[in-house]
Symmetry: none
Subunit: 221 residues, 4 copies
Amino acid sequence: MGRRKKEPRSVHRENIATAASCLFMKNGISATTMNDIAAEAGYSKATLYVYFKNKEEIIGFLVLSSMKKLCSCITNALQNENSTRKCYDTICNGLVKYEKEFPYYFRIVLEKIKIDFESTEYLPEEKETYEVGESIREMMINFLKSGIEKGDLKDNLEIEPTFFSFWGMLAGVIQLASSKEKYIESTMGLTKEQFLQYSFDMLYSSIAKSNNEQNLSEVQK
Amino acid sequence: MGRRKKEPRSVHRENIATAASCLFMKNGISATTMNDIAAEAGYSKATLYVYFKNKEEIIGFLVLSSMKKLCSCITNALQNENSTRKCYDTICNGLVKYEKEFPYYFRIVLEKIKIDFESTEYLPEEKETYEVGESIREMMINFLKSGIEKGDLKDNLEIEPTFFSFWGMLAGVIQLASSKEKYIESTMGLTKEQFLQYSFDMLYSSIAKSNNEQNLSEVQK
Amino acid sequence: MGRRKKEPRSVHRENIATAASCLFMKNGISATTMNDIAAEAGYSKATLYVYFKNKEEIIGFLVLSSMKKLCSCITNALQNENSTRKCYDTICNGLVKYEKEFPYYFRIVLEKIKIDFESTEYLPEEKETYEVGESIREMMINFLKSGIEKGDLKDNLEIEPTFFSFWGMLAGVIQLASSKEKYIESTMGLTKEQFLQYSFDMLYSSIAKSNNEQNLSEVQK
Amino acid sequence: MGRRKKEPRSVHRENIATAASCLFMKNGISATTMNDIAAEAGYSKATLYVYFKNKEEIIGFLVLSSMKKLCSCITNALQNENSTRKCYDTICNGLVKYEKEFPYYFRIVLEKIKIDFESTEYLPEEKETYEVGESIREMMINFLKSGIEKGDLKDNLEIEPTFFSFWGMLAGVIQLASSKEKYIESTMGLTKEQFLQYSFDMLYSSIAKSNNEQNLSEVQK
DNA sequence: AATGAATGAGCATTCATTCAT
DNA sequence: CATGAATGAATGCTCATTCAT
C-alpha cells in the first residue's frame, strides 16, 4: 500500500478528524468506532493512534475546531459595522450553520464540557476549548452592551444572564428545529429555516427596546 | 424460584422501569447495563426480556411515562383557572422539575425520537408517545390562544410556531442551566433557579402584550 | 452448540482452569490468550468471564490449587511416621512433581506474590494462597524441629532461616534441573532425576547431624 | 539528522543496551516497549532495528554482557590466591551483586536459554553466551577441584553434579531472598544480607570437609 | 546511516440478547 | 413464569516490526 508523501502532522490530524466528523454526523459519536474512522480516513487503525491519543482526543479536536469556526463566524458578524438587528441575525444564522455542520458537538459544547471550576487541571486542548468559549461569551456580551448603548436593546437587561438565556434558547430551538424538521414542515407548513426565523424574531423581541419595525429581520421586511 | 406473587405484567414492567430509571439517572443511559437493571430490580436478567423486548423498549417506556407526568403537570397548571402568567410559570416550573427528574429523557424526547412521518410503522409504544406529545402540544396551543383572547399575549402571534419556538427555547435554557449550574453560580452569582426565572421572564416578554407589571413573575414582584 | 448440563460452578471453573494450566505449561502464561483458553476448554470466550473475573483470577486460582496439592503432598509425607530422611525425600520429590505439573506457578509462588505486609488488603483468594503458604511453612518448620529432636538434624540450626534457605535452594535446583535437563544429560550423563537426587543428598548433608549412612537416600543405598 | 559522530556500531549497541537495561530493571522486560527504549536511548525506534535484529536480541545482548561481568567477577575471586572459603564467599557475593544489578537476566540465564543441544543452529550471540557459561562452569569446577585438593572440601564430591546443584541452589536462594526481602525481615528479623550469609554457610557445610571453624564466613567469625 | 511513517495482528474485556429447562 | 447459562460480536487500544526515503 502506497505510503503517503511526507505531509505535516496537522494534515493527517485533519484527515482523520474530517473522516470522524463525517461518520459522527451520519451515525452518532458512540456508534462510530475507531475501526470505522480508520477505514473512512484510509488509514490503518493503529495510525489513528499515532495522530490522536484516543477517541476522546478526536472528539475534543472536533469540538475545538468547530468552536473556532463558530467563533470566527461571530467575530465576522460583529466586526462589520452593522445594525444591531443585522448582527443578531448573522449570529443566529451562524449558530444554525454550526449546528448543521456539527450537530453532535453542539450538544457536547453545551453539556459535556461541564467545566469544573474547582479543578484547575486543564489539559491544553481543554484549556483552548474553554478559552474559545470565553471569547465567544465576551463578544456576545459586547454585542449586547453596544446594542443597549445604541438604544436598540432594552436598557434594563442584565447582561450576563441575558446572554446565557439567549444562548440556551437559541441552542434549544435550533436543535429542536433540526431534529423535528419534518414534523415542523408537516404541522406548520414551514421550512426549518422559516420556522427558525420566526423563533429568532420572537427571541429578539424579548430583548429589543420596543416593538417597532427595526425588530423585523430582513426576511420579514 | 417463584419469587413474586402472580402479579400483572404491568407491575413487573413498572418495577423494572423504576429500577432502570434510577440507574439511568445515577450513571447515564448507556453506562447502565441490563445486568445492572436486573440486579437493581431484583429480577434475573432474562426476565427483563420477558417484560421488555430490549433495552430500547425500557427507555421508550420511561420516555413515555415521563411524558405522561409532564403532561399531567401541564394539565393541572392549565385546568385551575389561573392568570396567563401564573399558568406560564407553572408550566415552566413543570419543565424544570421534569428535567431534574428525567434529565436523560429530556434530551431523548427532544432529539432521539426523530419521528419519521414518512414511515407509518409506529410501534404501539411509539404511537402513544407521539400521542402524549400531541396532547401536550394541544394544551399549550390552547393556552396560547386563551392568553391571546384574554389580551395577555400579543395578538399577532402565530400559534403553532410560537409554541414550537417556545418549547425549544425553554428546553434549551433549562438544559443549559442544568449542565452549567456551577458556571452560572460562579460567573453571575445566581442560583440555577434564579437564573431560570430570569430566562422565563425574558421569554415571556417576547410573547406578552406589553411590558407592564403583569409580565413579572410572582418571584419578581 | 449443545449447552452443557447444569453443572456446578466449580466444575466449570475446574474445566477452564485445567485448560488454562495445560496451555500455560505448553506456551507460558503471557503467551496464552483468553481466546486460547476458551478454545481449549470448549467454552466461548465470554463464558470464561462468567466463571472468572479475568485472566489474573485464572492464574490466581491455579496458583492456589497447585499450592494446595503441594501442601497435601507435604502433609502426607509428614503424617506417616517416617524417618527424617524418608520425609525429606518425600518432600523433595513432592516439589519435583509440583514443578513438573505447574512449572510456571513455581516461579509465581516464589516471586510474584510479593506479599505486601504493609497493606492488609488481601483479596479472599490471595488470602487463602497466603494461608496455604503459611501452612506449608509451619509443617516444614515442625519437620525440622522434630528432626532435631530425633537427633537426625544438626541441633544448632536456626529453624526459620534454615527452612527458608532450604526452600529457596530446592526451588532453585529443581528449576535448573528442569530447564537444563538436556544439558545435564549430555554433560554429566545423568537423568534429571538422578541429578536431583544428588542435589537433595548434598543439601541434606548440610542439615544432617553427621555424615553417617542415614544421610543417604533410599536410592543411593 | 546527523546526530552522533560516526561511531562504531558497538557504541550504538552499547547505548541502546544500556537504555534497555535501565528500563528493564525499572519496569520489567515485557513492560518495556521498543518505544521506551528508543526514547531512553535517544534514538529513533527504527534505528534500534539497525543495531539489533529485534527485542529478543537486545535481551540476549544484555544477558551476555551481564554474564561476562559475572564471569570476570568470578575470575577475580579465583585468581587471587585466597582460601577456599574466601573464594566461596566472593563467588556468592558476586552472584548476589549480579542479581541485584540484573534481576531479570538472572532468571533468563537460568531458564529461558534452554539451549537445545540437538539443534546446532546457534546464532553467534547465543554461542558466545554459551561459551561464557562454559567458562564460568570450568572455573567453578576448578575451584571445586582445588578445594578438594587442598583438603578443604569433601573428597567424595562428584564435581560436575556438585557444581550444578550448587549453582541452582545459590540462584534459588538469592532469588527468594530478593523477592521476599520484606517477608524475611518481618518473619526472621534478618536483613536480606544476613539471611543470605546464613544460607551460604549452610550450603558450604554441605561441601566442606568437616564442620570446623574454617566453614564459617568472615562475617560469622 | 538514520528515521518518520505506517501497520498487521492481537488482546483483554464487555454486553445485549437467546434459549433450554 | 422465570431464569441460569452461554455467547457472538464488538471495542478501544498496543506494540514489535517494516520500509521508503
